[in-house]
């Protein structure tokens, strides 16, 4: 398996992106049509690349690549079944957060490189948002890893064989879900693009291959984040009757569907409100979640 893992990550990424595309249609209330999805992707690819007339143009074209690398890197650390995973590090959970951290510079580069006022505003908004949300994300990963006594995602799955972590640490789950949704810059956290306010924001100038890469990367991000949610909180591949990989796929799809469904039903949050929520509520609560995780680790997991 180890020789095939890079290919496996790409296969999971492609399949996951396609499934997320279908889920998007399903959530939007449209009958899922793979052909329409493929046709839309092909139409995007046929557009010529746009070349912003600015000095930082190379940042503009580097950004989709960095975004894709960050998304694929995050996906590589998600274990899908025993023996079926991308990279198995003993610090995999932190490495996942490290990969997600590079979404921030990528979107800032996109906004800055475009050189249009609204795009730069989108980039700066995203910067402020992610600085506020990266910390609860990393802290909750530590809180969930504490009972397992290990930062290796497979160990975190193994420790949930009896009770999934969602039931043990509901506070951590409640903090994780909005932060995870924010990392994917999906509604209601679609502040960098914000079609209604910024007219596409950080991504307004992208055409053709660049735009296709960004769409692809966003869907892979959603797959990676949903997969990690399943691993950290829902017991990963563990479940009765069905084979492990199928359980994992079902859980990931359920989480991704939940994210998309919630996003369609909530209005976009205002940036100042999101920031004050993140700094004044989410961060202190995340510290509380770590303390609680330490307590239950000492009481039940030793």
């Amino acid at each position: 398996m180890s020789d095939l893992t890079p290919l496996a990550v790409f296969a999971v990424a492609a399949a996951g992106a396609a499934i997320v595309g279908l889920l998007e249609q399903l959530v939007a209330g449209v009958r899922p049509a793979p052909l329409a999805l493929a046709r839309a992707a092909a139409a995007t690819l046929r557009q010529p690349l746009s070349r912003p007339d600015r000095r930082d143009g190379w940042l503009f074209h580097l950004a989709p690549g960095l975004l894709l690398i960050a998304a694929l890197g995050a996906l590589a650390f998600v274990p899908w079944a025993p023996g079926f995973r991308g990279i198995d590090l003993s610090t995999g959970a932190i490495a996942f957060a490290a990969a997600l951290a590079y979404v921030t510079p990528a979107i800032f580069m996109a906004g800055w490189g475009a050189g249009r006022p609204l795009a730069v505003v989108g980039g700066f908004r995203w910067l402020a948002l992610m600085l506020a949300y990266a910390m609860p994300l990393a802290m909750i990963i530590t809180a969930v890893a504490a009972p397992a006594g290990s930062l290796r995602p497979t160990d975190i799955v193994e420790v949930q064989h009896a009770v999934p972590m969602a039931l043990v640490q509901p506070l951590a789950l409640a903090l994780w879900l909005p932060a995870a949704l924010a990392v994917c810059f999906l509604p209601p956290f679609d502040l960098p693009q914000a079609d209604g306010e910024l007219g596409g924001g950080a991504f307004s100038e992208y055409r053709g291959l660049d735009a296709a890469l960004i769409g692809f990367a966003q869907r892979i991000l959603l797959v990676a984040v949903s997969g990690m949610t399943a691993v950290l909180f829902l017991g990963g591949w563990q479940g009765p009757l069905l084979p492990p990989a199928l359980w994992m796929a079902l859980k990931t799809m359920a989480v991704a569907g939940l994210f998309l469904w919630v996003g369609r039903r909530l209005p976009r949050l205002e940036v100042d409100r999101v920031l004050s929520l993140a700094w004044k509520v989410a961060n202190p609560l995340a510290i509380l979640a770590i303390a609680y995780a330490g307590l239950i680790t000492l009481l039940f997991y030793r």
Binding site: D56, A98, L131, S150
Partner: protein
């Protein structure tokens, strides 16, 4: 990792680290300078990984992303010409500082190469995360607490320094938005 894989990661990463580090001070666009610094220090994380310090490499990648992006934010705020569109010169004492820095850099490199370092038999296994955790929570607990206190002081001090009407009674100039403090 095998020796070949390590070398394939180490050499390009180390060279790229120096090149991006140098370009930080050559480019005139602030966004580029900050992102190049992020590249330099992030690639240093890859070098750590190649030197089989897995935990430190991953942590370096994680920390530097947030820190350097914050730095870009501040640079764009405080530079008179953040986009680098006017091509202004941001260097003083160019020749002397380059000479001093070059001498120090080359001197350190020479010392590194020429000294007969006590190289021990090398085990490839770096200490795993668990061992580092026991170190932090055991023998080095006091040092770690001291680092934590330093961060706390830095947070409080930073806020005090940066807020209007702080230690030096600096008020907001007339007409400037006080950033929500007035409310």
């Amino acid at each position: 990792m095998s020796d070949l894989a390590t070398a394939l990661v180490f050499w390009p990463a180390a060279v790229l680290m120096l090149v991006t580090g140098l370009y930080v001070f050559i480019t005139s666009s602030m966004a580029r300078a900050g992102l190049l610094l992020l590249a330099s220090l992030g690639i240093e994380g890859l070098v750590f990984l190649a030197l089989s310090s897995e935990f430190l490499g991953v942590l370096q990648l994680l920390m530097m992303s947030g820190e350097m992006v914050t730095m870009v934010f501040f640079m764009v705020m405080f530079m008179p010409d953040p986009g680098g569109l006017m091509g202004m010169d941001m260097v003083h004492d160019k020749r002397r500082s380059a000479a001093v820095a070059g001498l120090v850099g080359v001197g350190l490199a020479l010392v590194a190469v020429l000294t007969d370092w006590p190289a021990r038999a090398v085990g490839t296994d770096a200490p795993d995360v668990r061992a580092i955790g026991f170190e932090v929570m055991g023998r080095s607990m006091l040092t770690f607490l001291f680092a934590a206190m330093t961060i706390l002081f830095a947070m409080v001090g930073g806020v005090l320094l940066a807020k209007y009407g702080g230690r030096y009674r600096i008020g907001a100039p007339a007409g400037e938005d006080r950033g929500g403090e007035a409310r």
